[in-house]
């Protein structure tokens, strides 16, 4: 067997394994969510049904749609703001010579290394003092800080690949710095901006701990907290509904990711290899 053949066998086997590893839980989740009851797990027959989905979408007491709305609002407010802030920072760090330009990205990164649990207590007191508990502000503000490092580092790798001579040319052509950022740098970094937007959006959408601590009911609680509250509502754990809700909210993210995957992969790997 040629070396190339062995290599391709390894790659294919590896890919299949990885695929199964990732897809199995999702498939399991889907299977349970479409079952009439979960007795098939203990030897009963599998019955296909939409009943779990109908329950979660129609039952008012579950507030499924409220949670979803809250998540979408919080994520959609946070992600563009984060991208605007990080664009300015990434531009300054890659283009302007000032003291500490090398240390700032590392400091920002170190903030994201902090365990969330270590700051959530303080955040709770802080938000309480402002009377913001159980509001969108209580989530948007921490999310801004928590997701900025992600967006900043993605944009840094993009911006640093855009030749500095373009900035020089634009300065000579009479453009001011903000114009250079918006008319030249950002259009050229579109894939980075899009993947940054998407990753920040997903991070906010999936965030659990802050949302759990800083919100208290369906008026501000996000979907990740909402789903976790399903259990214990009726004494027994409603596995079918839980899985239906989880799959229901995962599906749009999967779709979004599939649409943007080209950008995401580009966004996460640029800077790794010099062309």
């Amino acid at each position: 067997m040629s070396e190339r053949r062995i290599k391709s066998i390894f790659i294919v086997t590896g890919s299949i394994f990885l695929f199964l590893f990732i897809i199995t839980p999702i498939f399991w989740m889907m299977l349970i969510s479409f079952s009439k009851n979960i007795s098939f797990l203990t030897g009963g027959t599998y019955q296909f049904s939409f009943s779990n989905y109908i329950t979660i979408l129609t039952s008012k007491s579950l507030h499924m749609m409220d949670y979803l709305k809250n998540s979408l609002i919080v994520a959609s407010i946070t992600s563009p703001i984060v991208l605007i802030i990080s664009s300015f920072s990434a531009y300054a760090i890659t283009r302007i010579n000032f003291a500490g330009r090398r240390i700032i990205p590392l400091l920002v990164l170190s903030i994201s290394i902090f365990p969330q649990i270590s700051i959530v207590g303080y955040l709770y007191r802080w938000m309480g003092n402002f009377g913001w508990i159980n509001s969108y502000v209580a989530l948007v503000l921490p999310y801004l800080a928590w997701t900025s490092p992600l967006a900043l580092w993605i944009l840094l790798s993009y911006f640093s690949q855009i030749p500095k001579e373009l900035d020089s040319a634009a300065l000579i052509d009479g453009a001011k710095r903000p114009k250079i950022l918006f008319r030249i740098i950002l259009p050229l970094a579109t894939p980075g901006v899009l993947s940054g937007l998407l990753l920040v959006f997903i991070a906010c959408f999936n965030e659990f701990l802050f949302a759990l601590m800083l919100t208290s009911d369906y008026r501000a609680q996000t979907i990740s907290v909402g789903i976790s509250l399903f259990q214990g509502l009726h004494g027994e754990i409603p596995w079918g509904e839980l899985m239906a809700a989880s799959f229901f909210v995962t599906f749009p993210l999967i779709l979004l990711t599939l649409v943007f995957q080209r950008f995401i992969i580009e966004g996460l790997t640029t800077g790794a290899i010099k062309e």
């Binding site: 020089s168 634009a170 300065l171 030249i184």
Partner: protein, 353 residues
């Protein structure tokens, strides 16, 4: 008419790097006349691009003053530094630096838009310059769809579109192939002279400098070596660096010492390859052995050895002798002292060592 277009006075640039402070430019003084095509020439890393960026306003010198006409554009004492657009300069970059996401038209219109020109006026001006550069059929294309030569024209067009006071060019031809470079060189010279724009042109290519320039400044390791017309640099180089840098093949250098003097100081004698004549053995000034003969078109480059020193002779006829004698007219010799500085002396008696 004003006498100077650009005056650079005592400009010094120190870069602070992780390894320490690097002196990039040391007390540079330049005086550039209106409408002049002025060349800054030097090997890579000599600080010529830094000097250009400083004149453009993209970098600030550590010390010194720069005037555009009577206007101060930089002064360390007055803490004054004008932005590039306030200096009314245009620049052509080595990499062209075209905006990749914009069409040729948008690229050329960009400087005018920033000046808040009316749409109609922008259109007229862009088309006028595009016709001049023969790129009017490319206006709707993106830079990626253009050849190297076309990109070069667009970059020049973008610089000329707002008729700047000063045009700066940073090795604009070095990314083109040899033939295109020679063509563009001629075209560029005609264009700049027609427009009468004061131009500073940075290059490491001495042929380019000699053919294009009204005057040339030679820079080495941040120090200005000599400023003068191409002829002055060629016929009267101030030191061995200039002498060796200008002219192809390079000037030959032979060590010698002055006789009839107690100290017998060492000197260097320079003779250009074109000024040496090959004669039969013992009929010239020195005898030497032929090492190698290169034929370039109708010319020969004869490499000879003289007391372990290499000499190159450019000649149009050579038959394969092994041993030759070299002759040159007295007045074709250049004398340099042991520090490499030119010695102006009518009569120097010397012997080769």
């Amino acid at each position: 008419m004003k006498k100077t277009a650009i005056l650079v006075r005592n400009v010094k640039k120190i870069f602070s790097t992780a390894k320490g402070r690097v002196l990039a430019l040391d007390r540079i003084n330049l005086e550039i006349k209106p409408g002049e095509l002025f060349i800054i020439l030097g090997p890579s890393g000599c600080g010529k691009s830094t000097l250009l960026n400083i004149i453009a306003g993209l970098e600030e010198p550590t010390e010194g003053e720069i005037f555009f006409g009577d206007k101060v554009v930089f002064s360390d004492k007055k803490h004054l530094s004008l932005e590039p657009f306030e200096r009314d300069v245009a620049m052509v970059f080595q990499s062209y630096a075209l905006y990749p996401h914009m069409t040729v038209y948008q690229n050329m219109a960009f400087p005018l838009k920033n000046l808040k020109y009316k749409k109609k006026k922008i259109r007229e001006q862009v088309i006028k310059i595009a016709q001049m550069l023969r790129i009017e059929t490319l206006l709707e294309r993106k830079p990626a769809e253009l050849s190297g030569g076309q990109r070069q024209r667009v970059a020049i067009g973008r610089a000329l579109v707002r008729t700047p006071q000063v045009l700066l060019m940073d090795e604009p031809l070095s990314n083109l192939d040899a033939q295109l470079r020679a063509e563009m060189r001629v075209e560029l010279k005609v264009l700049i002279k027609d427009l009468g724009i004061t131009t500073i042109y940075v290059t490491h290519d001495q042929t380019e400098a000699m053919t294009l320039g009204d005057r040339i400044a030679i820079l080495k390791e941040g120090v200005l070596q000599q400023t003068g017309s191409p002829d002055e640099l060629f016929y009267c180089p101030k030191n061995t660096f200039v002498a060796g840098f200008i002219g192809t093949p390079s000037m030959n250098f032979l060590s010698a010492e002055i006789i009839k003097s107690i100290k017998k100081p060492n000197i260097t004698i320079g003779i250009r390859p074109q000024d040496i004549e090959i004669r039969p053995p013992n009929k010239g000034i020195i005898n030497a052995f032929v090492k190698l003969v290169e034929k370039i078109g109708d010319k020969y480059l004869v490499h000879v050895d003289y007391r372990k020193q290499k000499i190159i002779i450019e000649t149009s006829n050579f038959s394969k002798e092994k041993e030759v004698s070299l002759f040159w007219p007295k007045e074709k010799m250049h004398f340099f002292d042991k520090n490499g500085e030119r010695i102006e002396s009518v009569e120097i008696r010397f012997s080769f060592v």
